[in-house]
Amino acid sequence: MRITVRALLAAVFVATFAALAAGCGGGNGAGGDGGGVIDQVITINWGTEPPSLDPGLATDTTSSDVLLNIMDPLVKLGDNLEPVPNLAESWDVTNGGKTVTFHLRNDGKWTNGDPVTAKDYEWSWKRTISPDLAADYAYQFFGIVGAEDYNSCKSGCAAMRDKVGIKATDDHTLRVELTSPQPWFVQQVAHTSFLAVNRATVEKFGNKWTEPGNIVTNGPFELATWRHNAELDLKKWDAWRNADEVKLKRINGRMISEGTTAVQAFEAGELDMTAGLPPEELSRLKGTDSYSQYPGLGTYYYGLNVKAIPDVNQRRAMSLAIDRRTIIDNIAQADQLPPTGFTPKGMPGFDELNPSSPWTPENGDLDKAKELMAKVANPNKNVNLVINDSPGHREIAVAIQSMWKELGINTTIRQQEWAQFLESLGPPPDPSVDAYRLGWIGDYVDAMNFLELWTCKSGNNNSNYCDPQYDALVAKARQTPDNDARYKIYGELEDKLLGENGAVPIAPIYWYTYVQLERPSIKASLNVNLLSQTDYTKVVEVEPS
């Protein structure tokens, strides 16, 4: 009997190993030379599948990461986020700041051989604004004359389209008419929404023009492989106008969304770079040579519903009670900066702006907070804190919950899925939301991007905060092209929010940093800028010293 059973089992095991060894279909390995060899082929992690590689439709950072490397923007951002000529070799700002004229280089090319002309840009931008494409980011163009009207037109759209202030006066000149002087406009053009698409390709393939095999690009890298949700590889495009400058031959990209798995892949030698790191692993990884940290341009904050917590002293107390240093050191763990205001450090004009809020002390000030709470006549003792369910937010919420407990406030944490969370926030926020967690990352590099959030009608004002004087100051800033003068106004706006007499509709928690693991061979040349973009034309693999 035993022999039978054992023989049976043995036979089974042998059969299994044989089957496995024979392989269930070869399949090609997904690149990954795992860091040993210096061959200018690297493997990175995009994180998730880019929802769309159509510049008109891309709204997320992954698509943007890919697009900025396969396309050629008119303008790029330098080290201090100042606009640097790229495909546009120069530009003129005239007419009091209301007209911007870009002069394009004449050596731009598409991968299908067509030359890149200003007409491509005119067509592409108008396409993004058009109501048929229904682009989420069409609003980025609303500073251009006629754009908003065209976007919301229901009839007579062809005429509206012609009225939009984007004109290719010749093959290499693009003239843009703005509704008001916008000093940040040229920097804004570095955003993915302002990239051009190849008209012939889009017209031929319609919705499917971004599929590998159809897609036509004009940047330093071209799309080599794209297996959806699995792998997206780029290879150097030798016919690019500046191809000599590009050292990398190929970038193999995985799509590992689970941070822990990505770290393990890095440690097993399969990745040369991770995209971000789970906060829990930071304590272990921080000292290693592969760890790399970059400042970011964003603020992580807790918003306070001004209608639900009407007494400004309570809001101030709640902000004071938060021990930001503890949160940064123990939970976020990526050396984020404790904030002194809403606009983050690194923003041009930060020094002039000089936000210095008394309500966001680094270590919290529990005594003062309790004093202020005592002054509150009818405190809201049961606060509903709404957060979304991504990793990291729960921990911070739990910590803050215990900090607010010291003030006698019972916080109920309601964790919601992303889409539901966004619905609760509105605006206007659902009445049950007393506090919420949010982060704002800069779209373009001017403090206006942060401060305009708190105008009464802003689509991102989730705190029910409305101050007509604030709105007036914002309008004034919009009409002030002179940087210094404008930064002064920004300072006043920060004061209104978080200054000594500020309304404190929000409690900033930290200013973002970006962390990732990088193989020593690429660490020296790899850089992630303040908007978390990586320019792979600058990356080169070297022998680690």
């Binding site: 009997m1 039978t4 059973v5 049976l8 089992l9 089974v12 299994t16 089957a19 496995l20 392989g23 269930c24 279909g25 070869g26 399949g27 390995g29 997904a30 599948e49 769309s52 590689l53 159509d54 439709l57 997320d60 048929d132 229904a134 989420d136 069409a138 609003y139 908003e148 976007n151 919301s152 919705n207 499917k208 971004t210 599929e211 297996r227 959806h228 949700n229 699995a230 792998e231 995985r254 799509m255 590992i256 969304s257 689970e258 822990t260 798995t261 393990q264 892949a265 440690e267 097993a268 030698g269 889409a419 539901q420 966004l422 619905e423 926030l425 949010l438 704002w440 689509g459 991102n460």
Partner: protein, 310 residues
């Protein structure tokens, strides 16, 4: 017999329509805007454009009818969130890995589970039984996310040099080992218990006693008579379990970064991508219903005792 088959087939149509209707109505109940993916609110005019483009501004019954027409022509519509892809494309590209993962996990479960169950039954209520069942049960009881985590840590990272197994992905045959084990341990335990129970039952049958009484050797009795007869319930259960492995392994797919349908499903529900959710639900439901129907018919043919009384 033919009448039975035809009737069952015909019944699947209203069933599928009902499934579509239920999913449709359920999705409508969830609050959330499929077009708003980031904190940045969408201006009202753009929201209006998007809704018009995807026909979301029509009354719900109109959308339902349009959708059903689409299903009838095998067109599951465009994705609301992934603007350059259709649901058909998504299914075509991502269904095969899930299918493959499910099939491999099933193979693993059968190949290891059945012998384990057999061993346990032949030594019932003695230590080999208890140990085998304990081992099998651990595979079932310990949640697969922990098993997956441990497997990745030990085999791909710690002993990565010895084994050459990647931590994630679904490409080479080495990358398929860990996910298969992580997903297959549970069904393996299930089959082990099932086999054990079934073998024990069969062993008490009179014909086994007869065979023993006739003087047949134990080995022959076990292999020829017992095992063959005990495997019927296992084989019947295998079908449905395969259905599950395919339709719901998203945690494993998430952890191992496998581009399968499960991962898409969760992403689509959380992103409120109505058309993808509908499309995948309809697809999965059809698989389940058709499998159901086939098994019902087969069972009716194989085992007349269990034909439903009508």
């Amino acid at each position: 017999m033919t009448r039975l088959i035809v009737r069952r087939v015909l019944w699947t149509i209203p069933v599928i329509l009902l499934v579509i209707l239920m999913t449709f109505l359920l999705m409508r109940q969830i609050e959330g805007n499929p077009f708003r993916t980031s904190e940045r609110a969408i201006p009202a005019s753009i929201q209006a454009n998007l809704e018009a483009k995807f026909g979301l501004d029509d009354p719900w019954w109109k959308q339902y009818v349009r959708y059903v027409k689409g299903v009838a022509t095998f067109d599951l519509g465009p994705s609301l969130v992934l603007r350059n892809r259709d649901v058909n494309d998504i299914v075509r590209e991502h269904f095969p890995p899930s299918l493959e993962l499910g099939a491999l996990a099933m193979l693993f479960a059968l190949v290891f589970g059945i012998p384990l169950g057999l061993l346990a039954a032949l030594r019932a209520n003695k230590w080999p039984d208890y140990t085998a069942m304990f081992v099998a049960n651990v595979g079932f009881a310990v949640p697969s996310f922990l098993i997956a985590t441990l497997l990745i840590y030990f085999f791909a990272v710690r002993w990565g040099d010895i084994f050459d197994i990647p931590t994630s992905g679904w490409t080479t045959w080495q990358s398929k080992i860990l996910p298969t084990i992580a997903l297959g341990l549970g069904p393996m335990a299930y089959f082990a218990r099932l086999t054990r129970g079934s073998v024990l039952e069969t062993l008490q049958q009179d014909y086994i006693r007869t065979a023993r009484a006739k003087g047949l050797r134990r080995r022959r009795v076990v292999v020829v008579h017992t095992l063959r007869n005990s495997l019927i319930p296992v084989v019947t259960a295998a079908g449905p379990i395969l259905g599950f492995l395919i339709t719901g392994s998203f945690v494993i797919e998430q952890i191992f970064a496998i581009p399968g349908i499960g991962r898409y499903y969760v992403t689509a529900v959380t992103g409120r991508d109505y058309s993808v959710v509908m499309g995948l639900t309809v697809l999965l439901a059809m698989i389940v219903i058709v499998a159901n129907m086939v098994v019902d018919i087969l069972y009716g043919i194989l085992d007349p005792r269990t034909r439903e009384a009508r």
